[in-house]
Amino acid sequence: MNLLSMFRRGSAPIARERLQILLAHERDARGQPDLLGVLREEILAVISRHVSFDPDKVQITMDRGKTVSTLAVDIEIPNRRRDAGSAAVYGRLTFDPAPAGARSQWTNGLV
């Protein structure tokens, strides 16, 4: 949209469209006031049954898109070296929400 057409049509239709998209998302989130908080608690509870990690080194983010939203879970877990008891090497457990059809994968790699 160039400047001339913005001038002719006015910017109200843009405002209206932006608001409709934004409020649709915000209203969805309202029913579950802290969706990310709940997800974080439950995901951490499951993982802590199997591995130990520092709760401060966990990042859970959600990126909302128009049609698809992505959830990224990033957990740093200490890997104990087999040979040395003192130093810990940190690995990272990441959850990759794979596209439809493919399986989601948990990967544990060294950073």
């Binding site: 049509r9 006015g10 910017s11 109200a12 239709p13 405002a15 209206r16 932006r18 608001l19 409709q20 934004l22 409020l23 915000e26 209203r27 309202r30």
Partner: protein, 276 residues
């Protein structure tokens, strides 16, 4: 104040600041009083009170809402009677910086006491969604959501509507808080040219019933300059007539909605028609 009454509690709220909550509280409160209702307007903006100033009562404040809550003063001592309208009273907020001074129990007691003395209790909410704003809406039977036709105001109004449906006493009892949309600072010719969200746009997005449309007007600024509600200071002006219509609708009267159409300047005559 002998006759026992049962007031309807209204909250004037918006989320966003500067959209016209205090101006509208004063204008609607005065209009209700003018129509014979006994009204108290209560300022909940602790620390940043302004309803006293807009009503021209700033030099008459002795005790305030916080004093009453803390038992420093009795309610009748804190109520200020308007000098122009004998049915209109103000309960001012305090200028203390401690916003925790407003307690849930204290507010409940004050509202309960006011309910028996007035026909209408109009609570002027502070901006934001913090304690002051949630306490202002806490006991409301009905809410007036003041919205400017502008994206940030509409978004914040939507948020406030969500709070009215969850944080109020009525919502917790499973009852509804009646919600009314009051559109303020409306520029008819800007909307006609597609430069400003139209009334229909705002109504479609927020989907709550429309109480009134207040046109942008110098009379509103002039009224606050002199400390008199626009419905008293310029009762025949376009904004005052719109406030009076809104007031009658609040009282349950059926008044056809007027979309303000201010007299057009030469610029609007030249350019306004094309877009309409």
């Amino acid at each position: 104040m002998s006759e026992e009454k049962s007031a309807r509690v209204l909250v004037v709220t918006s989320g966003k600041g500067g959209v016209g909550k205090t101006t509208s509280t004063a204008a609607l409160g005065a209009a209700l009083a003018h129509l014979g209702e006994k009204v108290v307007v209560v300022d909940f903006d602790v620390g940043l009170r302004n309803l006293d100033l807009v009503l021209g009562a700033e030099r008459r404040v002795v005790f305030d809402l916080i004093n009453v809550i803390h038992g420093v003063a009795k309610l009748p001592q804190a109520l200020i009677r308007d000098k122009r309208l004998e049915n209109l009273y103000l309960l001012p907020a305090s200028q203390t910086r401690d916003k925790d001074a407003l307690t849930e129990d204290g507010v409940a007691k004050v509202i309960a006491e006011l309910r028996g003395k007035f026909d209408w209790i109009v609570c002027d909410s502070p901006a934001g969604i913090e304690r002051g704003a949630t306490l202002a809406m806490r006991h409301a039977d009905a809410a007036i959501i003041v919205t400017n036709p502008e994206v940030s105001s509409v978004r914040d109004s939507d948020r406030i509507i969500g709070l009215l449906d969850s944080k109020t006493e009525r919502a917790e009892r499973g009852e509804r808080v009646d919600k009314h949309l009051l559109i303020t600072r409306y520029h008819p010719w800007r909307a006609a040219r597609g430069e400003m969200l139209s009334i229909d746009d705002v109504l479609e997005i927020l989907s709550i019933p429309l109480l009134g449309i207040i046109p942008e007007s110098e009379e509103v600024l002039r009224a606050s300059n002199v400390g008199s509600p626009v419905t008293v200071n310029a009762a025949l002006s376009a904004p005052a007539r719109a406030y009076f219509d809104a007031t009658r609708r609040l009282k349950g009267e059926q008044i056809p909605m007027q979309i303000p159409n201010e007299s057009r300047g030469i610029f609007n005559k030249l350019f306004g028609r094309k877009a309409a």
